[in-house]
Symmetry: C2
Subunit: 325 residues, 2 copies
């Protein structure tokens, strides 16, 4: 039996992942997250094998009840027999530190189910790295036999929203009492939704949020209709279970349309482009770090002595590493 300290080459982990071994899945996600060069060949292999899961991107502003909803949704999906992976890219997520938001009880419920795997991604380094690692993690779970994978991102920041968009089906969560309808427009979040969810519909003011959102979609906010797919607005309550049947139908319905439509194909190409760009940015940053390492101290001292400004010196540093544009 291998001890914990034994390093298993990444390529050897691939078969174990394909057999659904959770420890292998966890290890490989960690290696993807750390950007380990050794793992790349294995991740390339995993990419070639992936593509079966239904990947759901879920986003919403802080306080919209995303995490609670994800927990309730995961329980529903489990009831249909689907294995559910959750990848959280959200510093405010309760998964981040286990107990950060005092959500221990709920997470314990889910985490005792071997058919649910929850992974919180550390938002480290450049965001290209984050998007890349998240999509690698999704592939790893996909190959590991997770049939539904939910990427939860906080709906603040362009890259976080883009990560949620890089899924088969994107869900945008709004909530009453937050002025979310306005927040959502601001962040460009309305437009990316394939399914709108209004959470906390046990509250009396939820009706207003639902109506506002439907009205905005009717008024022609882009995204109200995407060729073959009419974007639904689903009211839910994670507290009493309202709306989850409808939500499940909406998710399945969108997936069916996306799988067999030109709209779906174009979107998958766009996601491939996003993924490629983020992976390339990540590789480029690594290369830049290597190239400029011997120069940085000298340049830093020059900047500190005000012999130049951040922009001119940074331009010189890039030119020294990659030549002039």
């Amino acid at each position: 039996m291998a001890s914990v300290s034994t390093y298993v080459p990444s390529l050897e982990l691939v078969e174990r992942i394909a057999n659904g071994e959770i420890s292998a899945i966890a290890r490989m996600i960690s290696r993807a997250e750390a950007g380990m060069p050794e793992a790349r060949e294995a991740l390339a292999e995993i990419y070639q094998r992936a593509g079966r899961a239904h990947v759901i991107g879920l986003t919403g502003v802080p306080g919209s009840g995303k995490s609670t909803m994800v927990s309730a949704l995961a329980a529903r999906l489990r009831a249909t027999g689907s294995k559910v992976g959750i990848v959280a890219v959200d510093p405010s997520s309760p998964y981040s530190g286990g107990s950060i938001l005092g959500d221990r009880i709920r997470m314990t419920d889910l985490s005792q189910d071997a058919g649910v795997y929850i992974r919180s991604m550390a938002t480290r380094g450049n965001m290209g790295g984050m998007a890349r690692a998240t999509m690698d993690a999704v592939d790893i779970l996909d190959v590991g036999g997770f049939e539904t994978i939910i990427i939860e991102t906080v709906g603040v920041g362009q890259d976080e929203v883009e990560i949620a968009k890089a899924a088969d089906t994107t869900v945008v969560v709004s909530a009453p009492g937050l002025g979310d309808e306005i927040q959502a427009i601001k962040a460009g979040m309305l437009e990316i939704a394939d399914v709108h969810v209004v959470s906390k519909c046990d509250r009396s003011d939820a009706h207003r949020t639902l109506t506002d959102l439907k009205q905005m979609l009717t008024l022609g906010v882009k995204g109200g209709k995407k060729s073959e797919w009419r974007v639904p607005v689903v009211g839910i309550s994670s507290f009493d279970g309202t709306g989850f049947d409808e939500l499940m139908k909406a998710l399945e319905g969108h997936r069916a349309v996306a799988l067999h439509s030109e709209m779906g194909r174009q979107r998958r190409v766009a996601i491939a482009g996003f993924r490629l760009t983020k992976t390339a940015e990540n590789l480029l940053m690594e290369r830049f770090a290597r190239a400029c390492a011997p120069l940085t101290l000298d340049f830093a001292q020059r900047l500190h002595r005000h012999e130049g400004d951040p922009y001119s010196l940074a331009g010189e540093l890039v030119a020294a590493s990659f030549g002039k544009e």
Copy 2:
């Protein structure tokens, strides 16, 4: 009188900023945030003029009471006559959307004071861009006459923590009841503190957090003592005002030491290096975006057709833009 739609060249804004014109400050920060090339010459000029303000980086995990503390601290600083700028790099910050966390009343109090300027940075694009824009915003406020500038970042994610570190004085906020002492170590946050704050000291369990933190510092966690400066642990309550006198003294004390010590000088060089790297990364990403734009669609289609994997194709894309390493 200039209408709103008149575009004022960035270089012309510099003098207005130096005169403390808030509208010019706001405009220039927006241009820095957007990464407008036109603004760079002006930002270079601003960099040369900046350097008078006391820049305080403040970080802590979500729920540690950072924003409430910043508000209370700003009020104290105002009482000493100091103009206070607040730059929030925190998606969970109440400043982000004005009303997101229902913090309207408090923010209204502060925002009616012309001696306080609050700016929330959108976490957009690559994190190099975020760090660069934040440091530009600090310079702009500095030249605009703000004597104390607080950078508030959420203590999750390497770059957010590094931004808080890129200040004259770094404050790490912990709170009782969050298991923060562990969170802080995990995130590498303990080590960056020049001043530790334990918030919510009106709570009965705060004593324990204070004791734990002091013990950890005594036990030799790096950062307990930084050559000329002994890192204090200050218990505060933003609710009843406890500890703010001590906190003000600690901030001033650290500043005095940092200004005149070799430790302070080395740190300023390190900050210059960080700033330079982030600015360079940002410029490099822009250049890469231009270089790879004509190639991206073809590469995305190849990835979509599984003619290669994300890593090999990304490597090709980087090589096509910058040559082989």
